[in-house]
């Protein structure tokens, strides 16, 4: 059978790096083909080449056996290629209809398009209002816009770039249903992800990329998640040692009835958030991005004091009116989600970045506020060694480090100060598997030394692996914390989607639907 898509010898070089080197593989008609690899393995560059956003330096692409040249996304669409982007290519201030029209080459007039959108929605059992403005929609609904935008053009090949990273488990199930229906209709799907469980559940074939090269092809149903992960990282995976049970002590961080306004322009306000983290414990907070996580971190770290009400206790002392510096002095350390520009300043050296937050615990300032840059360099060097950060020493600019290495440095900078309470948001976002395992291990070790850790993450697997208890954030509210042992993923998913209460008829219905899918 002629493959739907055949890549031969695709090579793409950027100044200083080779993103893809001699990549060749084929996708059959009606096949869901996984493209698997760590961050930086060259997956996104490769699909951008297939979709005509970027051009390959060498190699050729064939669609249905015919060699083609794809110079722009318009040409890709004419060839029957559709794409759903990882960072959505949507226009927030415009309506769903306008967004879909923008993704088509010759859209019909408003009313006809509206009717066609509704046809597609019915056909694939999706719900979406074409007249709504995008900024009023949830992340899951936004992704549906992208999917409808691709489906309305009846693609022969659909590319999905990390589609599930922002979805709740129920939304993932619904997405898979659509993708399987598409496959049965003969559409080929190129599915990019690093989530191995999903690939095992969904995909027929997997091509594994490492360092821009194809390192293997396999049938995901026959491989274990572990064996695929080892192909991805090109080495054996280290097991995380769990900490001994029963070390949990008295509450270190206690938050009660916290209210705070959302961050403009589209932030979510915190509504009566209460939580408590005990010594030696990791409390995980799950939730879809934009449900108040950033607000919670900035209120707990002390960055945001205005408009905040409620109490925050650190080891029994009320700290809710103290600023960032005062809280740090008392042993509360926070690492926000955004690495560049929030946790670290790219243009400054690692030593200078160390001074920013570790000057207190590491004694990097002298009397009168003078900096001890010599000590800062030593401290940065210690972090680099202890956390095996790949960098050209303490004088390297923070911006010169890769995402994973910078994150290791930042986590190390906080942890070596031995905080009593450590608040961290998305500790391993955009970090490769090796570094992610290292960071998680460091957090577990810190907790077993008696610190209380609050970890916010969108990666549910990560939270289930790390946490002792888990709570879910939705619309600025925080659910009760549940013991991780014995918690049901479905229940977490429902809470992430905003369904509360056991005997809610809608939640029962959704549970049923989730099981059936």
């Amino acid at each position: 059978m002629t493959p739907r898509l055949e890549l031969s010898g695709i090579t793409k070089r950027f100044p200083g790096v080779t993103a893809n080197e001699d990549v060749s593989f084929a996708v059959a008609p009606g096949e869901i083909h996984a493209l698997l690899g760590e961050n930086g393995a060259g997956k996104s560059t490769l699909v951008k080449i297939i979709y005509g956003v970027q051009r390959a330096d060498e190699g050729s692409i064939a669609i249905d056996g015919r060699t083609v040249s794809i110079g722009s996304p318009n040409e890709a669409r004419r060839l029957g290629i559709g794409m759903v982007f990882q960072h959505f290519s949507l226009f927030e201030a415009m309506t769903v209809l306008e967004n879909i029209a923008l993704g088509m080459d010759n859209p019909p007039s408003g009313r006809t398009l509206d009717a066609r959108i509704r046809e597609v929605l019915t056909e694939y059992d999706l719900s979406l209002d074409p007249q709504r403005e995008v900024h009023t929609l949830s992340v899951g609904e936004r992704q549906r816009i992208e999917i409808v935008r691709a489906l309305i053009q009846k693609p022969k090949l659909l590319i999905m770039d990390e589609p599930t990273s922002v979805l709740t488990p129920q939304e993932v199930e619904r997405l898979f249903k659509v993708l399987r229906q598409l496959r049965d209709e003969g559409c080929s799907i190129l599915y990019i992800s690093h989530k191995l469980a999903e690939i095992k559940a969904l995909c027929d074939t997997a091509t594994i990329l490492r360092g821009g090269k194809v390192v293997g092809t396999c049938d995901p149903a026959r491989e274990s998640a572990r064996s695929m992960a080892e192909m991805m990282i090109g080495g054996s995976l280290k097991d995380i040692s769990t900490k001994a049970k029963g070390l949990i002590g008295k509450p270190r961080l206690a938050v009660d009835g916290l209210d705070a306004p959302g961050e403009p322009p589209f932030g979510t306000s915190l509504k009566s958030v209460s939580l408590s983290v005990r010594a030696g414990e990791i409390l995980g907070i799950a939730g879809v991005a934009g449900n108040g996580q950033n607000e919670l971190v900035s209120v707990l770290s002390g960055e945001r004091l205005t408009g905040v009400s409620g109490s925050i206790h650190l080891d029994g002392a009320e700290i809710s009116r103290l600023g960032v510096g005062a809280r740090r002095k008392r042993g509360l350390s926070a690492l926000p989600e955004e690495r560049n520009g929030h946790s670290a300043i790219g243009a400054m050296t690692l030593a200078e970045n160390a001074v920013l937050s570790a000057r207190g615990p590491a004694g990097l300032t002298a009397a009168g506020g003078l900096l001890r840059l010599g000590r800062a360099r030593i401290y940065a060097k210690t972090v680099i060694d202890a956390f095996s950060v790949r960098a050209n020493g303490p004088e390297a600019a923070a911006a010169s480090l890769s995402g994973g290495n910078l994150q290791k440095f930042l986590v190390g900078r906080e942890i070596l100060g031995e905080p009593k309470v450590f608040i961290v948001s998305q500790p391993t976002w955009g970090v490769d598997a090796g570094a992610a395992a290292f960071i998680r291990q460091a957090m577990i070790d810190l907790a077993s030394r008696g610190a209380a850790i609050l970890c916010l993450s969108q990666d549910l697997d990560e939270l289930l692996e790390l946490s002792d208890r888990i709570a879910v954030m939705n619309g600025g509210r925080l659910s009760e914390a549940m013991e991780v042992a014995g918690v049901s993923i479905e229940r977490i998913g429902l809470l992430m989607g905003g369904v509360h209460g056991e005997d809610d008829p809608e939640s029962e219905a959704m549970l049923g639907a989730g099981r059936a899918a």
Binding site: G52, V53, Q54, R55, S72, P73, N74, A76, R77, F85, F88, S89, L90, F91, E92, A93, M94, E98, A101, L102, G103, P107, H135, P264, P265, F266
Partner: protein, 304 residues
């Protein structure tokens, strides 16, 4: 008050509003594409002097208006090259363009100081004051109204207008879907330049058919403020331009009648004051209700 006086005041108001409206319409389209060009005043002055020079040399004021259009577009091309292709800072380049235009127009206009030219006046003269008000004004007054309608339709109902707005909303998303972001922004900037040039020529060909240095007297800045005042909406722009045109005229009338309603300094501050008030009122209400394009002033660098 006689009918003649009322008509005279209304016509003067329309006259004062027209150049503001034309320049602001151009800037509105530029900003909708995500580019902030603060050089409107400079482009207007260059248009004014080019229009005057051509009108004076050829004796055909309509040719002067066309020349002003082209001159404005030509200087805006320099702005586009610097900010879009070479990624220069838009605010700094726009301010430089304003200063550059003032200087160049003074230099080029030096031989024309004090000379008068034929007015680009009404096509037909009417004795009846009502007919004069409705049909007896400079063609540019009607052109400005047609342009408002055209820009509104273009942005709201045309496919190209949707694409232009998309580029101003998110240049990265537009690029990812496959739209030529830079080309669209170039075209928008050129349109803005042409409109500013035309607006400038209104001063040298219609209002005062003579040349003097700094003829536009800072109205380019008012045009920029009007765009914000109108929350990037052509309909409100029309309203705003005529409102300011009316205030300007009333002030002149009051002065001619021997009493001053406000100090002239207050009058020139009024558009900016009004803009601040409008922005404050809008931001009290719904979030992001100003409708400012999300990518306004942000440079775009595509990866290839």
């Amino acid at each position: 008050m006689s009918l003649d006086l009322v008509v005279a005041i209304l016509m003067a108001a329309a006259g004062a509003a027209t150049p503001l409206l034309i320049a602001a319409l151009g800037e509105l389209v530029v900003e909708k594409s995500g580019v902030l060009n603060l050089g409107v005043e400079g482009m207007m002055l260059i248009g004014a002097v080019a229009g005057f020079a051509v009108s004076y040399t050829t004796g055909v004021p309509a040719l002067g208006a066309v020349a002003a259009l082209l001159a404005g577009a030509l200087v805006s091309l320099v702005f586009a090259l610097l900010t879009l292709s070479l990624m220069a800072n838009q605010v700094a380049t726009g301010l430089a363009l304003a200063i550059f235009g003032t200087g160049v127009s003074a230099l080029a206009g030096a031989p024309f100081v004090g000379i008068t030219t034929t007015t680009l006046g009404p096509l037909v003269a009417f004795d009846d004051p009502i007919l004069r008000l409705l049909f007896g004004q400079s063609p540019l007054v009607y052109l400005a109204l047609l342009l408002t309608l055209a820009v509104w339709w273009f942005l709201k109902h045309s496919r190209q207008g949707l694409i232009l707005r998309a580029v101003g909303e998110s240049s990265d998303a537009a690029h990812a879907i496959g739209y030529p972001v830079l080309k669209i922004r170039y075209l928008a900037v050129l349109f803005g330049g042409a409109m500013a040039g035309l607006a400038g020529s209104y001063y040298s060909l219609v209002l005062t058919p003579m040349w003097a240095e700094r003829l536009t007297a800072g109205r380019g800045w008012i045009a920029i403020a009007l765009v914000v005042f109108a929350s990037w909406k052509p309909g409100r722009l029309l309203l705003g331009a005529y409102l300011f045109g009316f205030v300007i005229t009333m002030e002149l009338q009051a002065k001619a009648a021997g009493f001053a309603l406000f100090a002239p300094e207050f009058l020139s501050a009024l558009p900016y004051l009004a803009t601040i008030v409008v922005l404050a009122v809008i931001s009290l209400g719904r979030r992001n209700a100003t409708h400012a394009p999300a990518c306004l002033g942000k440079p775009f660098r595509p990866a290839v």
